[in-house]
Amino acid sequence: MKRLILAAAFAAATAPAFAVQPSEMLADPALEARARDLSKELRCPVCQNENIDDSDAQIAKTLREVIRARLVAGDTNEQVMAFVTDRFGEFVLLKPATSGWNLLLWAAGPLMLLGGVAVAVTTFRRKGHGDVSLSSEDEARLAELLKD
């Protein structure tokens, strides 16, 4: 089912497959490699969850051309990303910025791991080791059995 919807979404958003066109590619392999890397971090603004490298939408093509033009003009990767986000907002960043509340997103995993370890260790400490006294449930059952 998940896939069905994914498929429906892909189909609705784009014609599948063809992404980067041969004609768009830069002659300089180093610059082209950088362009490809950057493309994979930018979301196609009209698609569901595709980066501009994979997308077939016109806007994705335009964006691919724009970042290549900026790279040829000598921009650094950061400058190119800033150029794009200035115009399209942070929505196009597939890797959300580590600023403001987003820090919470990035820290969620490590924080939960720390919390989990803390809980596990305190539980372990409290339970003690080698303590073999009866649990309250067992005591209740024992009392019940003795009553009979």
Partner: protein, 656 residues
């Protein structure tokens, strides 16, 4: 007429489910055998009614009954028979019917295979299972009824999304649902145990097979979906961290944790409340997944089931079941006192670490999936969370898990000695690192992902077999080898599943780091080199299919002058659905896949061609299948086949 009968059967199933959810529960509370006995026939009746209903819908699709709305919207007389059948679940309404069919099937299985279950536990389990059924049957009948007729039936249907007309996808949803919905059994057992106020080894021995079954199906279902994405979407990607993928991945991770913690309850009678919590959460994530997929809240505008009423309904189901179960948990969890005590260095602790890492990984996926929604609602920021985030935030936990796995798996229960357990593992660790270093030196200027993948994979796979071998005890090699065959299947299952994890890790790392890609324009008759191969575009021609037209290329792949394969990538246009698709042509191989895609015609008469060498692609799905096989081996272990219900104490007086 038949359609009305199917519709009626569904309503009847709802009535049966209502009875099944109330009467046995009261019976169990009062220890009234007659009331409890209602559960078994009710569960079977419910299953038969829903099965009939499902059969009717299938027949409507097969016979192209265009008086039914879902058939019109998702079928066509020209559609191949396989896809007429798979069209039943290729839409929201029909897939929901499959959902409840599987739900009731699990209920019926609990009756068929649950003779040995203590009657009270069985009555309560079936009652909780029926409550879930009531919720989903109501949801279906009120918001998503597949049996709605059209006043004026059209002459033909609108066909199904062509991307779904694919064998891989035809069987993907049933497997996924068998997994998703199977977790409802673990949930029912957890809630029943909470009501009963008692969890023991026998309980865990009952819950674990259901969880294993679900996990095995989920593993296969997810692998199938990933395989489909790989060959159908046309750029060789296998996982996109899309919300709908995450929806199936989260329950898989939690179910994996639950499998391990249930072992601890079974063997050592400890971690009880945590196991109960995991069982509740596993099903909770299934429901969250259902919500994500069917509400359209997170997947944005394109999902076809984005009716806000449906979203609200599922949210209500989620709130009732999770709220109810967690409240019950809060009230009763303290009664689940553990018996077994363990030292800090022990198998139990290792499994706690496993659980922690899997749960945190699932949590990261969850937070990443809902973050765009959270950010928009609370911080008024429109943002995206995509592949680069998940790769960075999720992977470390998997690396941690794989690093701990061989060590933890070999630690003895109760109290271990780290140095002693590590002794047989040192050579393996050194070998793995040496191989990783070798790979690192061979690949120049690529990421560290490949070598790290190699190290972890060797470590995990080797560790799995060392663990198995260690179980044979001491003595001469020949004797130990012969003992190997007599080890319990659970031991083999554990080793196999762990090896599958290693294979999967390796394949993921290999595919992400050693892929070769080429994009170019090719004239007919031209060739180009790709790795060791030479690829020639011989011809491009038009071909007619049953419900599509195709532009098909003939591409010859040679290596040192010898033909490797003649591949036919296609661009199809589905004439009824009016949609283009790309059909990649793949030469599957043990060490690599050759993956060719034909693109658009160019102005100068050439064709755009994309080609990839995907290293070890098949290992990815093989890894998933090995994991599933491990699950099945473990499921066939003797202890689940005999006397599963033999509780250690004669069913005395549960603390109620």
């Amino acid at each position: 007429m038949l359609v009305e009968l199917g519709h009626f059967a569904l309503i009847l199933a709802l009535c049966v489910a209502v009875v099944q959810s109330i009467v046995p529960l009261i019976g169990a509370q009062r220890r009234d055998a007659a009331w409890m006995a209602v559960a078994a026939p009710a569960a079977i009746a419910q299953f038969l009614l829903i099965a009939f209903s499902f059969g009717v819908l299938t027949w409507a699709f097969v016979a192209s009954d265009f008086s039914l709305k879902v058939v019109v919207e998702n079928s066509h007389t020209l559609k191949p028979m396989l896809y007429k059948v798979s069209g039943v679940w290729g839409n929201h309404e029909g897939s929901l019917l499959l959902w409840v069919l599987i739900l009731s099937l699990y209920g019926a299985c609990a009756v068929w295979f649950g003779d040995a279950l203590p009657p009270q536990l069985r009555a309560r389990v079936l009652s909780v299972q029926a409550m879930v059924a009531v919720a989903f049957l109501l949801f279906m009948l009120l918001t998503s009824n597949p049996f709605l007729r059209l006043e004026i039936p059209p002459l033909n249907g609108q066909d199904m999304n062509p991307l779904l007309q694919d064998p891989g996808l035809a069987f993907h949803p049933p497997f996924l649902y068998l997994g998703y919905v199977g977790l409802s059994m673990s949930f029912s057992f957890a809630v029943a145990a909470l009501i009963e106020g008692r969890v023991d080894a026998a309980w865990a021995r009952w819950v674990r097979p259901w969880t294993l079954v679900s996990w095995v199906f989920l593993t296969i279902g997810i692998a199938m979906g990933s395989w489909w994405a790989y060959y159908e979407l046309g750029w060789g990607g296998f996982w996109f961290w899309d919300p709908v993928e995450n929806a199936s991945f989260m329950p898989w991770l939690i179910a994996g944790a639950l499998l391990h913690s249930a072992t601890v309850v079974e063997r050592r009678e400890t971690l009880k409340s945590w196991t109960i919590l995991l069982a509740i959460l596993a099903f909770g994530f299934s429901l969250i997944g259902t919500f994500i997929v069917r509400s359209g809240v997170i997947t944005s505008v394109h999902a076809f089931a984005n009716d806000p009423d449906r979203g609200k309904f599922i949210l209500a189901i989620l709130a009732v079941f999770m709220g109810g179960a967690l409240t019950l948990f809060a009230a009763r969890a303290s009664a689940m006192e553990s018996k077994g005590v363990f030292a800090l260095v022990s198998r139990e602790s290792a499994l706690v670490a496993n659980n922690l890492l899997l749960a945190v990984a699932a949590f990261v996926v969850f937070v990443g999936t809902i973050w765009p929604l959270v950010a928009e609602l609370f911080f008024n920021r429109k943002l995206s969370v995509g592949q680069p985030f998940f790769d960075a935030a999720f992977s470390p936990f998997m690396v941690g898990l794989a690093t701990l796995l061989p060590f933890g798996a070999m630690l003895p229960w109760k109290r271990g000695d780290a140095a002693r357990t590590l002794r047989p593992l040192w050579p393996l660790a050194l070998l793995s690192i040496a191989c990783g270093a070798l790979v690192w030196s061979m690949q120049t200027g690529r990421s560290a992902l490949g070598p790290v993948g190699v190290i972890l994979a060797l470590w995990v796979i080797g560790g799995a077999w060392l663990d198995l071998f260690a179980r044979t005890g001491r003595g001469p090699l020949a004797q130990r080898l012969s003992r190997l065959t007599r080890l319990p299947r659970a031991d083999w299952g554990k080793a196999t599943a762990h090896a599958g994890v290693g294979v999967t890790i390796f394949a993921v790392a290999a595919m992400l780091s050693w892929k070769t890609e080429d994009i170019r324009v090719l004239q007919k008759g031209e060739s180009f080199p790709l790795g060791p191969y030479t690829i020639t575009l011989q011809d491009v021609r038009d071909v007619a299919g049953p419900n599509y037209t195709s532009t098909m290329a003939d591409m010859l792949v040679t290596k040192d002058g010898a033909t490797v394969a003649l591949l036919n990538p296609e661009k199809r246009f589905y004439t009824i659905a009016r949609m283009p698709t790309t059909e990649a042509a793949i030469d599957f191989g043990l060490w690599r896949d050759l993956y060719l895609v034909i693109g658009d015609p160019q102005d100068n008469g050439g064709w755009a061609v994309r080609s990839y060498i995907e290293p070890f692609a098949n290992w990815l799905w093989a890894g998933a299948l090995i994991m599933a096989l491990g699950g099945l081996l473990s499921l066939s272990d003797r202890r689940y086949r005999v006397a599963a219900g033999a509780r250690r104490t004669p069913q005395g007086v549960p603390a109620e």
